[in-house]
């Protein structure tokens, strides 16, 4: 059997792993931004 015969599947699996991790990391960053904005708005509202 040619050892590299199914390399497309190997690359696809590795790409999927990194895509899932990157999407999750991005969701954490966007949630952090949203919470920062909410905290700022709440502080502004409480000062009024």
């Amino acid at each position: 059997m040619n050892p590299g015969a199914n390399n497309a599947y190997l690359y696809a699996a590795y790409v999927v792993v990194w895509v899932v991790h990157c999407v999750y990391a991005f969701s954490l960053v966007s949630r952090a931004r949203r919470m920062k904005r909410e905290t700022r708005e709440l502080n502004t509202a409480s000062r009024r």
Partner: protein
């Protein structure tokens, strides 16, 4: 704390890089499957890390039910969310590996089906946390986390209890099973790398869950103050 976080982040990136080199270049090519077997070095550590995170969710859920501690609830939420992302990787990389080796993407055997059920249980946990409202949501989620964890040993034992399409255990599978020592290095380095990555994700998500809780309380207090002022 920020310095410790940055040190852990750099360590995680180094481990992920080294784990990748081990899996792709250093580990020997498997004799029958060829290079596609290297999917194993991401598939197996992801599964173990997912199991570990669901165990953390189980412990935190018990802790929450006993003590009603906000930190325990936040840890349960963080570990379930990160566990689902690792379990998603297991469920995607498995069929990608199965297609060239078995000739099929999926089969309803005990290991694969119980893993899908595990993923669905924790997705329903997250859906409950996200869409339900009210003070009893953390209690219901903790109960789901405790009973949901029952599926983890079933997933682990499925290939020992039933005849499955999924291969018999390579690790702890008795006589004739086992891995080449150089393959072990790739497994353990990637396990360490993914465990560190999971720790970083849980760390960030845990802190966010605490802030979310505080924000909810502040919003509730603000609306209460507003209503009191309106009544006067």
């Amino acid at each position: 704390m920020k310095i410790l976080f940055n040190v852990c982040l750099v360590l995680t990136l180094l481990l992920l890089g080294y784990g990748f080199c081990q899996a792709m270049y250093i580990a020997p090519t498997e004799a029958t499957m060829g290079d596609v077997q290297r999917i194993f070095y991401y598939h197996l550590p992801s599964a173990w890390v997912a199991f570990l995170l669901f165990f953390v969710n189980f412990l935190a859920s018990v802790w929450y039910l006993v003590r009603r501690n906000v930190g325990a609830d936040a840890l349960a939420l963080a570990s379930a969310e990160v566990g689902v992302s690792f379990c998603t990787i297991v469920l995607i990389t498995g069929p990608i590996w199965a297609r060239p080796i078995w000739g099929i993407w999926w089969t309803w055997d005990a290991r694969l089906t119980s893993t899908l059920v595990l993923w669905l249980i924790y997705v329903s946990y997250l859906v409950l946390r996200h869409y339900a409202s009210g003070g009893q949501v953390p209690v219901l989620a903790a109960a789901l986390g405790i009973f949901g964890f029952v599926d983890v040993p079933i997933v682990y034992m499925a290939i020992r209890w039933f005849r499955t399409q999924h291969p018999q255990p390579v690790i702890g599978g008795g006589q004739g099973s086992g891995l080449d020592p150089t393959m072990w290095h790739a497994v353990l380095w990637n396990l360490a790398a993914f465990a560190m990555l999971a720790l970083m994700f849980v760390w960030v998500r845990y802190r966010q869950a605490i802030v979310e809780h505080n924000l909810e309380e502040a919003h509730a207090q603000a609306s209460l103050d507003y209503e009191t002022e309106g009544a006067q």
